[in-house]
C-alpha cells in the first residue's frame, strides 16, 4: 500500500526564494567564520582542544572503530600456541566469495585429531560478510583486529596464509575514544 506523503506547502516568502537563499547563506557563513576562527587559532598553537571540523585527519587521527566492526581476519591460538582451528571447513563452506581454502591434516594428538596444514584467505576476494566468524564452531577465526589497511602490489600478496593470520592472534585492545571533539 502506497503511503501518501503530505507535501509541505511553501509560503509566498519561501517561494520567492530570495529570502531563503539569504537564510541559507547566513547559516553557512556562520559556520565559516566560527570554524575559520578555530583554524587560525590552531595555526598559532591556540585552542588545541577545539576542532574546526568534524572530519578525522587520517592517518594522524583515526576514527574510533565500533567494537563490532568487521576488520582483518585473525586465527586464534590454543593455550599452547597452536591454532585453534580444526579444519572443519565450515567457514570455507559458508563463504559466499569462496575466498577461504583449507587443507586439513592429521594431528598427532588424537584429542585434537584434525588441524589445518594450510589456511588461506584471499582478501582480494573477501567481501567481509563475517559469515566465517559466525560459522566457526571453535572460535578460531575472528574479524576484530581493527586493521583496515591491507594492500598489496600483487594478487598473491592479498592471500593471507596460516602464519600471517596467526600473527595477530592476541585479542586487540579496544580503541580509545578520540578525545578531540568537534568544534
Amino acid at each position: 500500500m502506497a503511503i501518501k506523503v503530505e507535501e509541505k506547502q511553501l509560503t509566498l516568502l519561501e517561494r520567492l526564494y530570495v529570502l531563503e537563499v539569504v537564510r541559507g547563506i547566513a547559516l553557512t557563513t556562520g559556520h565559516f567564520f566560527r570554524n575559520m576562527a578555530v583554524h587560525i587559532a590552531r595555526l598559532f598553537g591556540l585552542a588545541k582542544d577545539k576542532k574546526g571540523s568534524t572530519t578525522f585527519q587520517y592517518p594522524e587521527e583515526r576514527r574510533p572503530l565500533a567494537p563490532r566492526l568487521r576488520t582483518l581476519h585473525r586465527l586464534t591460538r590454543r593455550e599452547d600456541g597452536a591454532p585453534r582451528c580444526v579444519a572443519c571447513m565450515m567457514c570455507e563452506t559458508v563463504c559466499p566469495a569462496h575466498c577461504i581454502s583449507i587443507v586439513a591434516g592429521e594431528h598427532p594428538n588424537p584429542l585434537i585429531e584434525k588441524y589445518p596444514t594450510r589456511f588461506d584467505i584471499d582478501l582480494g576476494l573477501c567481501v567481509f560478510c563475517g559469515y566465517c566468524v559466525e560459522a566457526c564452531p571453535e572460535d578460531a577465526i575472528r574479524m576484530d583486529t581493527g586493521v583496515l589497511e591491507f594492500t598489496s602490489f600483487s594478487r598473491e600478496g592479498m592471500v593471507y596464509d596460516l602464519n600471517k593470520l596467526l600473527a595477530r592472534s592476541e585479542t586487540p585492545k579496544p580503541n580509545e575514544e578520540s578525545k578531540v571533539k568537534t568544534a
Binding site: 547563506i25 553557512t28 570554524n35 575559520m36 583554524h39 595555526l43 574546526g52 571540523s53 585527519q57
Partner: protein, 359 residues
C-alpha cells in the same frame, strides 16, 4: 613615460586578476570545507609549513603542468588545443574596459586607472563575455565526446538565456547614469543623494542589482547554475581535458567569477568610490573634512575597489557552496519567465521614475 604608465596599468590589472583567480582556486576548496565543517586543502607544505593549505595553489600548478596532456583520438586536435585559450583570452580581455581607479594628477602626469577608456565600455565587456562561449562550445565539440558536446551546448544555451536578462538589467543602470562608459558610471556613483547617501547602483537599482548578480552567476556557469558542468551527470565540456589545458578552463571559471564581481562592483557598488572621499580627501556631509595627498587617495580608492571585488567573490563562493543545482528546465524557466519579465519591468519602472524625478 606614458607608455610606461600604460604598461604598468596593464601589468597591475592583469596580475591582480590572475592573482585573485589563483587565490580563488584555493578559496573555493578551503572555504567550502570550512563552512561545511570539513578541513579542506591542508596537505601541501614547504619545510613543514602549511599555512592553511595556501601552498596548494603552487602544488596545483605544478600538477597541471606535469600531467599528461591528452587529446582524444577522434577529436579535432587543433580546436581541442585552441578552445581553452579562446575561453581564457576573452575572459581576460573583458577586464580592459573596467576601471579600477579614478583619474589622478600625479607628478604632472594624468593617470587614468583604466586600461582602455571606451565610451561604450559596457558594450565591450558584454561583447567579450559573449565571445568567451566559443571556447566552451568548441572545446565540447572538439572532444568527440557526447557528454562534452552536451556540456558545450548547455553552456551556450544558458549563456544566451541569461545574457538577455543581463543586458536588459543593465539598461536600467545606463538610464540612471546616462552613460555607457564604465568610468563615467563610477564617477556618477560618487555623487550624493539627498546630500548624504552615496548614489550607488544598488540603491538606485535594487531589483536590477539582484537580477544582475543572478544573471552574472549564471554566466559564470557555477552552482547553482552549473548545468553545463553538472559533474554528477555529464561532467561537462571539459571532460576530455587534462593537464594545463584543463587548467585554463578551470582558471577561466574563476576569472569569470572575478569578472562578475568586478562588473557588479562597478555597476552597483560604486566601483572604486569610497563614500565621501574626493580628490582632495574626505569631505563629510555633516561637515568636517580630512585632507589627503593624491597618492593616498589613489591607493585608498584602488584598495576599496579590490576589497569590494574580493568580498563579492567571497559571497559568490558562499552562494555556490550553499545552494543546490537547478535542473535544466528550472534554469530555463527562471531565465525566461521570471528574470526577463522582471528586468523589462525594471526598465519601465526606472523610466517612469526618471520621468517623474527628471520633471
Amino acid at each position: 613615460m606614458e607608455y610606461a604608465i600604460d604598461v604598468g596599468k596593464v601589468l597591475f590589472w592583469f596580475s591582480s586578476i590572475m592573482g585573485l583567480a589563483s587565490i580563488l582556486t584555493w578559496m573555493e576548496r578551503k572555504q567550502s570545507a570550512v563552512m561545511q565543517d570539513r578541513i579542506g586543502a591542508n596537505r601541501a607544505d614547504i619545510f613543514g609549513f602549511r599555512i592553511l593549505g595556501l601552498f596548494h595553489i603552487i602544488a596545483d600548478s605544478i600538477k597541471m603542468f606535469t600531467k599528461q596532456d591528452f587529446v582524444p583520438a577522434q577529436g579535432n586536435r587543433i580546436l581541442h588545443t585552441v578552445a581553452p585559450m579562446i575561453a581564457l583570452f576573452f575572459a581576460l580581455v573583458g577586464f580592459a574596459a573596467v576601471p579600477f581607479g579614478g583619474t589622478y594628477e600625479i607628478a604632472g602626469y594624468t593617470v587614468s586607472l583604466q586600461v582602455l577608456d571606451l565610451n561604450v565600455g559596457l558594450l565591450f565587456v558584454f561583447a567579450m563575455m559573449s565571445m568567451g562561449i566559443y571556447g566552451f562550445v568548441l572545446g565540447g565539440w572538439a572532444s568527440a565526446n557526447n557528454y562534452a558536446l552536451l556540456g558545450g551546448l548547455r553552456a551556450s544555451g544558458q549563456m544566451i538565456s541569461y545574457e538577455i536578462t543581463m543586458g536588459a538589467t543593465v539598461i536600467g543602470t545606463i538610464m540612471v547614469y546616462g552613460t555607457l562608459s564604465l568610468q563615467q558610471m563610477n564617477i556618477a556613483q560618487g555623487e550624493l543623494l539627498f546630500g548624504w547617501i552615496p548614489a550607488w547602483g544598488i540603491l538606485l537599482q535594487p531589483l536590477g542589482c539582484i537580477l544582475f548578480v543572478t544573471a552574472a552567476l549564471a554566466e559564470t556557469k557555477r552552482v547553482p547554475f552549473d548545468v553545463p558542468e553538472g559533474e554528477s551527470e555529464i561532467i561537462g565540456y571539459f571532460v576530455e581535458y587534462s593537464g594545463m589545458r584543463f587548467g585554463m578552463f578551470f582558471l577561466t571559471d574563476f576569472i569569470e567569477t572575478v569578472l562578475a564581481a568586478v562588473l557588479t562592483t562597478t555597476l552597483f557598488f560604486g566601483g572604486w568610490q569610497v563614500p565621501y572621499l574626493y580628490a582632495g580627501g574626505f569631505e563629510f556631509p555633516w561637515g568636517g573634512s580630512f585632507e589627503l595627498p593624491v597618492v593616498a587617495v589613489m591607493l585608498l580608492q584602488v584598495g576599496a575597489f579590490m576589497a569590494k571585488v574580493f568580498t563579492l567573490c567571497f559571497i559568490f563562493l558562499l552562494i555556490r557552496w550553499t545552494l543546490p543545482r537547478f535542473r535544466w528546465d528550472q534554469l530555463m524557466r527562471l531565465g525566461w519567465t521570471i528574470m526577463l519579465p522582471l528586468s523589462i519591468l525594471n526598465i519601465v519602472v526606472t523610466g517612469v521614475v526618471l520621468l517623474i524625478v527628471g520633471n
